[in-house]
Symmetry: C2
Subunit: 420 residues, 2 copies
């Protein structure tokens, strides 16, 4: 089954909002064997929506639309669908009750303008909105469009996600006749072309129905192995075969062959061994701690973090010697090591990771340019501390992200290989 996604909203065409909805929807559809053929973002203009939907319904069996169902004037999706299909609107009682209940909690009543959110296109299958007021719809578009389906959902991500999970996915899962398996191979510390050369013969001999894509990211490149077919067993087998071949070839760069994040992988490694970690951050400003604590259950192994931004905080909180800061500078391996050791002692953790560097845009010098990172990891058991310096290029935000990625990568390598 082929789908297309239409995202309605001027904000997507002016750089004001990134289209995360389309990524979510296509990912969920892929899981039930529905392939997304195109994603189109278009303006809040009725004629434009009509023309985009008409084109998409020619090509795809199901067209999923987000945005334009809200109570404000720039919400035009329902009007466009009425025009396209020549249908009226009708009040949906359940949606009205949901709207009234939500407003009542805030001490409000249903006004004329708000009640439009409970109006649905005639002949729709209504998608309940468990997170907000605007009703969603699944619409059979009739003979005019080969009985293809139109799915209307709000643009608010939490509302759309709940609708996808509770109603849309179950509805289409039973109709899909293809099976797709996507498996990521997540790597660190290797470039796109180097990795491509390592696995050139595997790529030359992919089984029919299997494709391989390269997805570069801040600290390396991920691969995505996708296999499509009619039979679950054959699809899984072909997919697995390619994954196994790649792992055998490039194992030392691979940290996961599932949708787990690097911080999730590290969390699992720590949990299994009953080890704990603490962090001492300067240039990453709390980002390493925040990433580690993004993982559910991280309270089992993440003890605490110190964001020691000022020199005084480095000294007072972690006992970094003032002489070290004066002699070597705050951005130095000496200070990074002192931070890691201070953090280890204060926290009582098994591992302490530290970062100090220059995120920019100011603060750089010829010897210590913007993008310079010193990091250290101290281990309680071995009483060892390891440090290194890395240079990167990017703006402040990119540098913070890459710095945090580098720190997590070192911790991952240490957990995997020990001190070497």
């Amino acid at each position: 089954m082929r789908a297309e996604i239409v995202s309605v909203g001027d904000e997507l065409l002016k750089g004001q909002r990134v289209n995360t909805n389309a990524a979510f929807i296509s990912g969920v559809l892929a899981g039930i064997g529905v392939q997304t053929g195109r994603v189109v973002a278009c303006a809040d203009i009725e004629e434009e929506i009509v023309s985009v939907l008409a084109e998409a319904l020619e090509r795809a069996e199901v067209v999923l639309v987000t945005g334009g169902l809200g109570p404000t004037r720039d919400d035009r999706t329902k009007k466009a669908v009425q025009q396209l299909l020549g249908r009226g609107k009708e009040l949906n009682q359940e949606a009205y009750q949901n709207l009234a209940d939500r407003l009542k909690k805030r001490g409000l009543e249903v006004s004329a303008s708000l009640s439009d959110q409970a109006m649905v296109i005639e002949g729709s299958h209504v998608i309940p909105n468990t997170r907000g007021s605007a009703a969603g719809m699944i619409i059979d578009c009739g003979e005019q469009f080969y009985r293809h389906s139109l799915v209307l959902m709000p643009g608010v991500p939490s509302e759309m996600k709940a609708m996808m999970e509770l109603t849309v996915v179950p509805h289409f899962a039973v109709l899909s006749d293809t099976v797709i398996r996507h498996t990521p191979v997540k790597t660190l510390g290797v470039g796109e072309s180097t990795l491509a050369e390592m696995i050139v013969d595997i790529e030359d001999n992919l089984p029919t129905g299997t494709t391989l894509a390269y997805l570069p990211h801040a600290a390396g490149v991920n691969l995505m192995i996708s296999t499509i077919g009619c039979e679950r067993e054959a699809v899984d087998r072909d997919n697995r075969m390619v994954i196994d071949a790649i792992v055998l070839r490039a194992e030392k760069f691979i940290y996961a062959t599932s949708e787990v994040t690097l911080e999730g992988t590290i969390g699992a490694m720590l949990s299994v061994r009953g080890l704990s970690v603490a962090v001492a951050e300067s240039c990453t400003g709390g980002l390493v701690a925040s990433r580690l604590t993004d993982v559910p259950g991280s309270s089992f192994y993440f003890l605490q973090g110190f964001v020691v931004y000022s020199n005084q905080a480095k000294h007072n909180t972690l006992g970094v010697p003032e002489e070290s800061i004066e002699t070597f500078g705050a951005v130095s391996e000496e200070v990074a090591r002192a931070m890691a050791l201070g953090c280890l002692e204060k926290s009582g953790a098994d591992f302490a990771v530290s970062t100090t560097g220059i995120a920019g845009p100011s603060g750089g010098s010829p010897e210590k340019p913007v993008g310079m990172l010193c990091l250290a990891i101290a281990e309680k058991k071995s009483a060892m501390v390891f440090s290194r310096t890395i240079f990167m290029q990017g703006d402040r935000e990119q540098n913070k992200l890459r710095f945090s990625e580098a720190a997590l990568r070192e911790l991952w390598e240490l957990l995997r290989n020990g001190y070497s």
Copy 2:
């Protein structure tokens, strides 16, 4: 001038990558008065790319394409353009030199497969790649497509961004004949429909050429006021008039009428007054510190952060009394206040902000459900400490983000209004 964006890559249709490139490009184009009419994401399939480009070139004077220029097999954009326009490829000397130089730094030579990155479509204006190897192109598509232009760029965000800024924007800025002004109105603590009701008459009487869009976010809603016209002065005047009217009406919810973030606004307020801040975080796990330090120059007012995830860390590092944790629980206003006071003392900052809550998915109870946040702010000068409890709904990631937003919002309100 009307543009369309075409993003090539299977990863965009499988939920594996969010299309941030399109948001960046449309935002930059808006700045030079070029309106993006549509954004289309399509697969790495030659025929599909050809058909998407042909359709886009019918509608738009300039079509900007990202992705599919890399060295791997799934990179099909150049082949598609050759087919569409019936043109050959030629080696570009500068691009080849750039490629060779980059490989040399890594101790590699130019291989046959890699050299394709220096091949450009015949008759292209080459866009130098200052951040990577693949050359970009601006192509006049000839009479067949009304002399509309095609811009080809790599999908790697840093490479694409540098090309946009250094070459593409200057190239098209001189050709654009419309002027656009976008001004955001950023609000906190007010819902979409409430805000819409507050400004209904302003929205009814917008000047010709001016539109108003609602962009809901985690903790409220932003407005975007866009004015389009031919004359810079008139466009600016109409835009300003609407902004002023909205500010007058909804001032207490507005924290910015420019592209500054909440953390940037707070940073400016602290800088101007020579005040400093420190944070003590439990449930937000370093995210508040990370957001505050996303702002360039934040080292002038952000002293340090404590991520006290375990109860022991709360006690040992910040002196939170063990009795308070036992009696009231780690998630309580009592503990939040003790964290803020401990943080104030340890850091010496003028303000200390603390968070303790339950981000989920586990750890909730009927009395203290997932989504519960206790926060406190202590001020050195007044020796006052303020706390409150907020309940939210979301998954772990959303809760962390909303918790951090709530903490920053309270700090912002305090800086604006003082203790009340």
